[in-house]
Symmetry: C2
Subunit: 209 residues, 2 copies
């Protein structure tokens, strides 16, 4: 064993532990506490595996799973930006790029390059794998929020228009799950958990567009 | 979309959320709280990916990752049994078999069979993938415990003999990482974090053997 190489891999693995202390806005079922980035990534990777059959394009499930597991690593330095926080979203990518350099830089050069590239593939959102991971990133909290009777949408007074980016991300990877996401929000609006779009207006899209 | 099929997949995904509330004995870095099953599984899957190069036999990394992500699902019903709790270990497998039937039974039949089989492959511990997941299951808490100055070993007054199963599980998948695990415990003993083996005796193995 190359002790120096292994020490770098161990340091990276230990650095990742911090994802267990990064809270998200979404709560676990029952609302006892917010979920954290590590739990979210775990849940996403399982979702990618389990719902692979709905993807519009064939994709490499293993590649998408490791992308899901590591997609939030940059938040160790850059923090979690809530999907509906437009001020935070404006500076998000620059902060995350600096974070990616430092954190992936803990690894041996070959793995640093490999995982930095994997994160850039996620960010570019062009490959079938990246699209499926974005689907999971959006669908997983939708499922939790709906099951929690919309508590997080209500707390942030989320409107249907603001959910356009997330609905589009789901539909971009899977037409079938895109329809399901529309159905979730139709029911959330009917239940008074999400504010409806202004009468007669098409959804206007949210801060990510 | 087959609505009934999807409803089963969604129910299983929501059932998994409970893993976020199952505490382990191992603490996250800094000792602020125990880690939970979801975080542990996430950390293991990343470890499997990152340390694949040390495996003695080639293995399918994607297959091992999904096995790692789901290996503790049965603890939703059967609870977490601490590695050094011999009374709990005696009944562990029967309790887990009942749990596997119920929880995987939430899924459509084809996926229920597939994931039940994946868990049985993990339990049998014979394939290179299962061995690598067992390695991760043992090495991940070792790394955390050591970095936490042995706090969890000290709290449970763990002796070197009791760690035989876990050291063997690491060595069974990777001779190199097996040596590293021996080195961790040699240093933990030197630091007074783990009780040494009785003078002149070989390690006797722990309750799992």
């Amino acid at each position: 064993m190359d002790a120096e190489r292994f020490a770098k891999q161990r340091d990276f693995l230990l650095e990742l532990d911090k994802e267990k202390s990064i809270s998200r806005q979404t709560h676990i079922l029952g609302l006892s506490r917010p979920e954290d980035d590590a739990e979210h990534a775990w849940h996403m990777a399982v979702l990618v595996y389990l719902l692979a059959e709905y993807a519009d394009e064939p994709f490499d499930v293993g590649h998408a799973m490791i992308m899901a597991l590591l997609h939030d690593v940059v938040e160790i330095d850059a923090g979690d930006t809530y999907a509906y926080d437009s001020a935070g979203k404006a500076t998000e990518h620059d902060r995350e790029e600096v974070a990616a350099k430092r954190i992936y830089g803990l690894l041996p050069d070959d793995q640093a390059a490999e995982l930095h590239e994997l994160w850039e593939e996620f960010e570019a959102d062009e490959t079938p794998e990246a699209k499926m991971v974005h689907l999971a990133d959006c669908l997983q909290p939708m499922l939790l929020n709906f099951e929690n009777h919309g508590a997080d949408w209500i707390a942030h007074s989320v409107s249907y228009d603001q959910t356009a980016y997330r609905r589009a991300q789901v539909a971009d990877a899977s037409a079938e799950l895109g329809e399901y996401a529309e159905d979730i929000f139709a029911r959330a609006i009917a239940n008074g958990w999400v504010r409806p779009a202004p009468d007669g207006n098409e959804p206007e899209g949210d801060s990510r567009e």
